[in-house]
């Protein structure tokens, strides 16, 4: 076991950190007020090669792997959890094409994914419940050599910014219910952005409905194969989505720690910095420990994903990392809020944003409750 970053990973973190501090940080205030994503952010990410981090080299990506993606998401999320989430959603959006797509599908989309011509997302959740995807209403019916998709997906991040997505639809009811996942881009008629949600946090990340209305896609846009739709969705969410949200959590914890430490060292009460008061020290110790424990779980899950073992072995590890990092982000940002006292609720000090963003993570890519089911299943089976 080596608990150290490689020189290459250090460089990667540096690249992401410099991008976040120099390009993203100046835009954060604007994102909080306008709740819009500034266009140049994806442009710079495209030029810097972040967008193709999971794309194979032959298609113009850097193919650096899941742990690399996690490190990038963490560094970006430290400055903007909204952008960190948008970026990880882009990754989960195209990951099924990388892992399960046909050569034609890969050739068609992956080069554009790497440059930022295509920005991706993934759509399975519906009003019927993201935690119960089998109950979905979106259906796809055969029409000659094509499929026609009809339905509405909701709570889809990047719904406006993304111009391509995987979408899971019900394709058979008898004898057994079956689902198929398709890759669709906005040049195809009938795929459009629907209503936008006004959210508590992650301002600047668009989130809302995707509408499929007689959306006719060629059969070559089927990912993996007919009836394999849930596998495709779980690849995306299990191998990136949950990991990515956990990494967003890491960024929120780190920013909470930095804010708490800075304030504690500068704020004078009773003639000395409050960092010298035990009450503050205990809280800071908790935040620091939450950061380290969360990091270990998330990095290990990401490392495991890169070893390319089975999805079922990976699932509980990722689930544990996701729910733990989420809980830790909520707790850490709350503690930071307390440490800042009255200033905690003042927008200029950023911590109230961390609190709101931390709460956003809980339900994204699978609620913590669902995560615990996955962990329990594995633990109870004696693994």
């Amino acid at each position: 076991m080596i608990f150290e970053f490689t020189p290459e990973q250090e460089l990667l973190k540096k690249a992401a950190r410099e991008f976040a501090e120099e390009v993203v940080y100046p835009k954060v205030e604007e994102m909080e007020t306008t709740r819009e994503l500034p266009e140049e952010l994806y442009q710079v990410m495209g030029e810097a090669g972040f967008l193709g981090i999971l794309v194979p080299q032959e298609y113009g990506g850097s193919e650096l792997g899941t742990l690399a993606a996690v490190l990038v998401v963490e560094e970006i999320s430290r400055i903007s959890a909204a952008l960190g989430t948008s970026f990880q959603v882009h990754c989960l959006g195209y990951l099924p094409v990388v892992r399960l797509g046909s050569p034609q599908l890969k050739q068609k989309y992956l080069p554009g994914i790497a440059t930022g011509k295509y920005i991706a997302t993934g759509a399975i959740t519906e009003a019927s419940g993201g935690s119960e995807p089998a109950n979905m209403s979106t259906i796809a019916t055969r029409d000659g050599d094509s499929w026609v998709i009809n339905g509405r997906k909701c709570f889809i991040s990047n719904n406006k910014t993304a111009n391509c997505t995987w979408v899971t639809a019900r394709t058979k009811d008898e004898p057994k219910r079956e689902f198929t996942s398709f890759f669709v881009d906005k040049s195809i008629e009938g795929y459009k952005t629907g209503r936008m949600e006004n959210k508590m946090g992650f301002h600047g990340l668009d989130n809302g409905d995707l509408i499929f209305q007689d959306c006719k896609v060629p059969s070559e846009n089927v990912i993996l194969g007919e009836g394999r739709g849930i596998t495709v969705a779980m690849t995306s969410i299990g191998r990136m989505g949950r990991m990515g949200m956990a990494a967003v959590g890491l960024g929120v914890i780190k920013s909470s720690l930095d804010a708490a430490v800075k304030f504690a060292n500068e704020r004078i009460l009773y003639g000395k910095p409050i960092a010298e008061l035990q009450a503050i020290q205990f809280k800071v110790a908790e935040i620091a420990s939450l950061l380290e424990t969360s990091r270990l779980l998330v990095y290990r899950a990401a490392w495991m994903a890169d070893q390319n073992g089975s999805d079922s072995d990976l699932a509980p590890v990722v689930a544990m990392a996701k729910y733990y990092a989420t809980d830790s982000a909520i707790k850490a940002s709350d503690l930071a809020l307390e440490i800042l006292g009255g200033y905690g609720v003042v927008e200029d000090y950023h911590v109230e944003r961390y609190v709101r963003d931390a709460r956003m993570i809980w339900a994204a890519a699978g609620t913590a409750d669902i995560m615990k089911l996955s962990v329990a299943k594995s633990a109870l089976s004696g693994k």
Binding site: P7, E8, E10, L11, L12, K14, A15, E18, F19, E22, V44, E47, A48, G49, F50, G52, I53, Q57, S62, E63, L64, A68
Partner: protein
């Protein structure tokens, strides 16, 4: 236009962004280095960018040189990720403590070992030393022409560059002939940011380290012993002022200040 063999000299320095937490050790009077990461000297990034752009427009290669301790290898790997084709670290205890002339001698030996250069580019000055001397001294030692603090740089033809500098009264455009050495100011370009594809490409490139024995130098010309200048003392400025704090409520303070200043 013909491709160019370009050398860029780079110095790892304590991160200027952390300068507010710099502390001077009261005994040794040197910077407490612990916890302060080394980065590429900011102006050297502009130098590297200038070299990369020239290479990208007409072909050639860019080799980065640095005289530094072994830990600088990580910093040099970053230059490979930025696009340099090769990096050379000149590292040896014998080189330590050298002033600008002793440093220039080591760099000159390293450059000579790797062949002839069309163009050598340096940052105008380092963040920590700030003398702005190594560039011109390196040129002199190699018998090359030089121009310092270039703010604009373009390729004129096969053998020439057009450079712009600015002094206290005017801007001058100069036509200069290679081989030569340039030092650059920040106005010369906007350095590219680290990209993941660059980090990937750097896997195939290497940092070569040369020590004293590899370079054929005379021990008396390098390091502390080879430096004509010596640091006799390091100190922080202590003020001779004896401050009087004005206290009381704001009205009282203002009244007292008004009187004391004789306004």
């Amino acid at each position: 236009m013909r491709p160019l063999r370009i050398a860029v000299c780079v110095k790892p320095v304590p991160d200027p962004k952390q300068s507010s937490s710099f502390q001077i050790d009261p005994v040794s009077k040197t910077l407490v280095r612990k916890g302060i990461p080394l980065v590429i000297n900011p102006l050297d990034r502009h130098a590297l960018e200038a070299g990369l752009r020239l290479k990208e427009s007409a072909g050639g290669n860019v080799t980065v040189f640095s005289m530094a301790p072994p830990a600088a290898e990580q910093t040099l790997t970053e230059t490979l990720a930025m696009g340099a084709d090769e990096a050379v670290l000149l590292s040896d205890l014998h080189f330590a403590g050298g002033d600008t002339l002793a440093t220039a001698r080591v760099l000159a030996a390293g450059l000579k070992k790797m062949g002839d250069w069309d163009l050598i580019i340096c940052g105008a000055e380092s963040f920590d030393g700030g003398t702005a001397q190594v560039g011109s001294q390196l040129a002199v030692l190699q018998g090359l022409p030089w121009i310092t603090r270039v703010r604009h740089l373009e390729r004129e033809d096969d053998a020439h560059l057009l450079v712009t500098l600015e002094d206290e009264v005017e801007q001058r455009d100069l036509l200069v002939q290679m081989p030569l050495l340039l030092t650059v100011d920040s106005a010369v370009n906007q350095p590219r940011r680290l990209s993941l594809l660059g980090i990937l490409a750097a896997r195939k490139r290497k940092v070569t380290t040369y020590n004293f024995n590899d370079l054929g130098l005379d021990k008396n010309t390098i390091g502390l012993d080879g430096s004509p200048t010596q640091t006799r003392e390091l100190f922080t400025l202590e003020s001779s002022k004896k401050v009087e704090m004005l206290t009381g409520n704001p009205q009282q303070i203002v009244a007292e200040l008004f009187t004391k200043l004789g306004l």
